[in-house]
Symmetry: C2
Subunit: 198 residues, 2 copies
DNA sequence: ATAATAAATATTTAATAATATATTCATTAT
DNA sequence: ATAATGAATATATTATTAAATATTTATTAT
């Protein structure tokens, strides 16, 4: 990567950082390009050298947020001290805690969710595909170690993803308490892993 | 029940019928009290003898819709030809089909969902409690017949409910196709019942 | 040549007025 | 006495305008 490219990426990164903070605190609508620009010590016009428009900045924030969720999962997969069934449980618990944390500390973030749901569902689909792929890794590991007996790893991953949606998706984060959701997540994963075992 | 009371109930019932049709086709916002009244062959003012206001009519519609979902489940429970695990699967499949049917034929209905989510979450909680209670019945039956081995029936019912939320709640009905959701529902219930068995 | 700015323009949002609708109530019919 | 109406009033929607903000572009600096 050339120096110019690198600084461009760094600046983009900084813009998303600053924008995400504002979107979280004041919401998408109440955040102005001028404000984001000032946070980044540049003019509003200059933002357009890095992002096509305000919605693309919001999309970038959402994508990064989802990438962070995925990174959380990759860390769990890497952790060799965890058995596959523990990895599945940690998947639900860690993602849930991350999501609930985000939405309880920054309720205005729900505006970003609404935007993505309405206008950038493609981002959600892409995230879900990647997440599903990570789930297949956990299942395959379980198959190899003999702990699981899953014939169709890809399909099963989709089912697990569907059954954990309450703890992964933003929709119910503000409707239920973290404690309540955590108890449920633990129960659901226990039930699921029981069904996966030999 | 006295005759007067009975006709009052009949009229209320008719109002909800007519209102629900309009909410479904034109949405809550675009439906006027005058229109509902005309559908019922009465004046707008007279509606207030039966419902406190427009929101109460909407709440009544939502409640009735949820009661119908519950009735669906009660039918499944009554069906003696089904084993408990089949009942669980039918629970997911029948409710999913009912919901998807509703929201694909009447997309404006989502407005009613938004209203209930925002202002009458208590109705949702009440529905979920009843639904959970019906799930415990299925689990208990499974325990009695020896097909299931569930130690805490009430907690487990909550977990099953949480894991099937994608197929029961309205939120994702317009984001995924019925076929896709049906495949997933089948997979999830299969996974869950495997975990419940002795 | 690249990066940034700041002024110009297009678009969106906010404020207001105008209209439509929800709700109440005095009156009439059953 | 109960049920229903339709006019009166309060509330909420919609249309219109004014103001703010997003986006583009001509210009300047590096």
């Amino acid at each position: 990567m050339k120096l110019a490219e690198e600084t461009t990426e760094t600046i983009k990164h900084d813009i998303l950082d600053k924008a995400f903070l504002r979107f979280g605190r004041y919401g998408f609508g109440k955040t102005t390009m001028a404000e984001i620009a000032k946070d980044c010590d540049m003019s509003a016009g200059n933002l357009y050298r890095y992002f096509e428009n305000k919605k693309e900045i919001a999309a970038g924030c959402a994508q990064r947020c989802m990438q962070q969720k995925l990174e959380l999962v990759r860390e769990i997969i890497r952790d060799t001290s965890l058995t596959p069934d523990k990895k599945l449980q940690r998947f639900a618990m860690d993602v849930l805690e991350y999501m609930h944390q985000q939405f309880s500390s920054e309720p205005a973030l729900m505006e970003l969710v609404d935007f993505v749901s309405r206008e950038r569902w493609d981002i959600v689909i892409h995230y879900m595909e990647q997440e599903k792929s990570l789930l297949t890794e956990i299942l395959s590991e379980g198959n190899r170690s003999g702990q699981f007996n899953v014939s169709n790893v890809l399909e099963t991953a989709k089912w697990i993803q569907a059954s954990l949606i309450k703890f992964i998706a933003p929709r119910y984060m503000d409707a239920f308490s973290l404690e309540e959701l955590q108890k449920e997540a633990k129960g659901v994963t226990a039930l699921l892993t029981a069904g996966l075992k030999k």
